[in-house]
């Protein structure tokens, strides 16, 4: 009954269709390219996993199993020295807060030197930007390690590490916010006869202030996360608690501390987003 069916497509029809539209039957070059790139990825993975001694994953089952069981079976919970844990967590938050605050203050000044519209001279602007690149390019943990070496173990090194790397990030983001201000609003204020200070107060600050607050709050959130890690290199906070107990083989306590940290971080994110909304409204970053 049906005249238009797959079964009715014989070799002759295939030939005809291929003649009419050769590329529709698969481009051999393209196919070779696709197969080739998958082969390259596969070969690379095989090579790198061999290089990284992947087989160790299967030999390690004993140690790993012991650790994982310890993480889930919590023992002697009354001897865990909770005050130390919560002081560590508090210290982490305090480090993040101070570091971000100091970074915010310094970045406020640097940002104007790195923005094109407030620093028209090429050389100082580029110099500022390159310095900021270096501050950001070195990871916060590396800064932590350097400052631990310089000022000794403890939260001061952590505050300094957060301060330095956040200055790099915030100054860059602030300068972008300054570059993105709406010129028309500034002109509008100037057209009412305002002098320079008033132009900045009513034309520029209302535009950039909400963005700055939002960026600093974000930076505070991310610093709380990274401040946890800073302790691993000795720069204070809960990370030091984690690594001490890990080295002592107290895996159940490590698991407990990590869970606590995760809860606290989630809480801070939540509060911070509430404040952001309060100050900036829904459209905030």
């Amino acid at each position: 009954m049906r005249t238009f069916s797959l079964a009715a497509v014989g070799p002759a029809e295939i030939q005809a269709a291929r003649a009419q539209n050769p590329k529709a039957f698969g481009d051999p070059l393209r196919r070779a390219l696709v197969i080739g790139s998958w082969a390259v990825i596969g070969a690379y993975l095989a090579y790198s996993l061999w290089l990284f001694e992947f087989y160790k994953l299967f030999q390690a089952s004993d140690n790993a199993l012991r650790m994982i069981t310890r993480m889930f079976v919590w023992q002697d919970m009354d001897t865990w020295m909770y005050d130390q844990i919560y002081v560590g967590i508090a210290q982490t938050i305090a480090m993040a807060f101070l570091g971000t605050l100091l970074a915010t203050i310094l970045a406020l000044f640097i940002a104007f030197a790195a923005a094109r519209n407030t620093m028209p001279m090429w050389l100082p602007r580029q110099a500022t930007r390159r310095v900021l690149d270096v501050l950001r390019g070195v990871d916060q943990v590396i800064w932590g390690l350097v400052f631990v070496r310089a000022v000794g173990l403890g939260p001061l090194a952590g505050v300094l590490a957060i301060f330095v790397s956040d200055t790099g990030t915030l100054a860059k983001l602030y300068s972008e916010a300054i570059e993105n201000i709406d010129k028309k609003q500034v002109e509008g204020v100037r057209s009412t006869g305002a002098d320079g200070a008033r132009t900045i107060r009513f034309g520029i600050i209302p535009q950039i202030l909400p963005v700055f607050i939002s960026l600093s709050l974000y930076s505070f959130e991310s610093s709380t996360r990274s401040a946890t890690i800073l302790g691993l290199v000795g720069a204070g906070g809960v990370g030091m608690v984690i690594i001490e107990r890990f080295r002592a083989g107290l895996f159940d306590q490590v698991a407990f501390v990590v869970i606590n940290v995760l809860v606290v971080i989630a809480l801070i994110d939540w509060i911070s987003s509430k404040i952001r909304r309060r100050f900036i409204g829904e459209r905030g970053h």
Partner: protein
């Protein structure tokens, strides 16, 4: 083809009438407490071209989507060769869907794939997991897809990325995809609602030609009255989820149409007026649109 037949043949034939394609028995669809389709009972014979008309929100779309089970009925039966397709699940449901092709108002093509791959997705039901994931279509399927495109005058676009096409072209590609499914039934949900009059005519002509040349049962939701009158053997009018008219095109009087459309009557008739180029009350000769040779050349 064999697999598809077997799914339905094995089931117990409770309705042995050969010429009946679909039988609706009190089919109902409720969204929470709102009734979209209420108690629809119809019999659609093999090879008929059916137009469903009604104002927007009358339940046309839901009815159509229930047929190939993009929407699940809340009650009633939908019989195809004695099998209640409203209760199909898993592989049988997918087999039914592939037997019951669908064309959408917004085409529902994959914009970032080329045209011929889009058409060949109509063959997916016949493919295993691996060949489907790796897009391994046979030369026979490719030739078939090109022939389908050629029938709709779209073969020259086979290798274009689909989202570079115009709306009318996309709808023709969508019909080609439906064709390579080799279905028994073709459902079209407002196929011309987002097209200009010329493309609307091309698409409706193609649907009509598929109905007459290939013997497919075509069920088509249409907003404008004149299009339905011009192309369909039978018109079903829906209002507030119920069937309020069921008869041949010439039986649909203006009074009956006004009742179906209610407050939207003016709009429906006016659209009808502006699209008199679609053939008015005289049925056009059903032909496939000719391939745009000049464009190919």
């Amino acid at each position: 083809m064999g697999t598809r037949g077997s799914v339905f043949v094995e089931a117990e034939p409770s309705n042995p009438r050969e010429d009946v394609m679909l039988e609706f028995k009190a089919l109902t669809k409720r969204f929470n407490d709102k009734v979209a389709v209420e108690d629809v009972s119809l019999t659609i014979p093999q090879g008929q071209m059916v137009g469903i008309i009604g104002r927007s929100g009358a339940g046309k779309s839901t009815l159509l989507r229930m047929i190939n089970r993009l929407a699940d009925p809340s009650g009633g039966e939908l019989l195809h060769k004695g099998v209640d397709v409203a209760k199909l699940k898993g592989a049988e449901l997918r087999a039914w869907r592939s037997n019951c092709a669908m064309v959408f108002q917004q085409f529902n093509l994959v914009g970032r794939l080329n045209v011929i791959t889009n058409v060949m997705t109509g063959r997916l039901h016949e493919h295993g997991f691996l060949s489907a994931m790796l897009q391994m279509f046979s030369a026979q399927e490719r030739a078939f897809a090109i022939r389908a495109l050629d029938r709709l005058g779209m073969a020259h676009t086979a290798l274009q990325q689909t989202d570079t096409l115009s709306g009318g072209q996309m709808q023709r590609v969508a019909i080609a995809r439906a064709l390579v499914q080799e279905p028994e039934i073709l459902l079209a949900d407002e196929p011309i609602a987002s097209l200009d009059p010329l493309n609307a005519k091309l698409v409706m002509d193609a649907l009509r030609a598929i109905n007459t040349e290939d013997g497919l049962t075509v069920i088509c939701n249409l907003h404008t009255l004149d299009t339905a009158r011009a192309y369909c053997d039978r018109i079903i009018g829906m209002q507030a989820g119920r069937v309020v008219f069921d008869g041949a095109a010439h039986e649909l009087t203006d009074a009956a149409a006004r009742e179906i459309y209610g407050a939207e009557a003016g709009e429906a008739f006016q659209e009808g007026l502006t699209s008199t180029s679609l053939g008015g009350h005289t049925r056009p000769a059903p032909t496939m649109p000719q391939p745009a040779r000049a464009a190919v050349g």
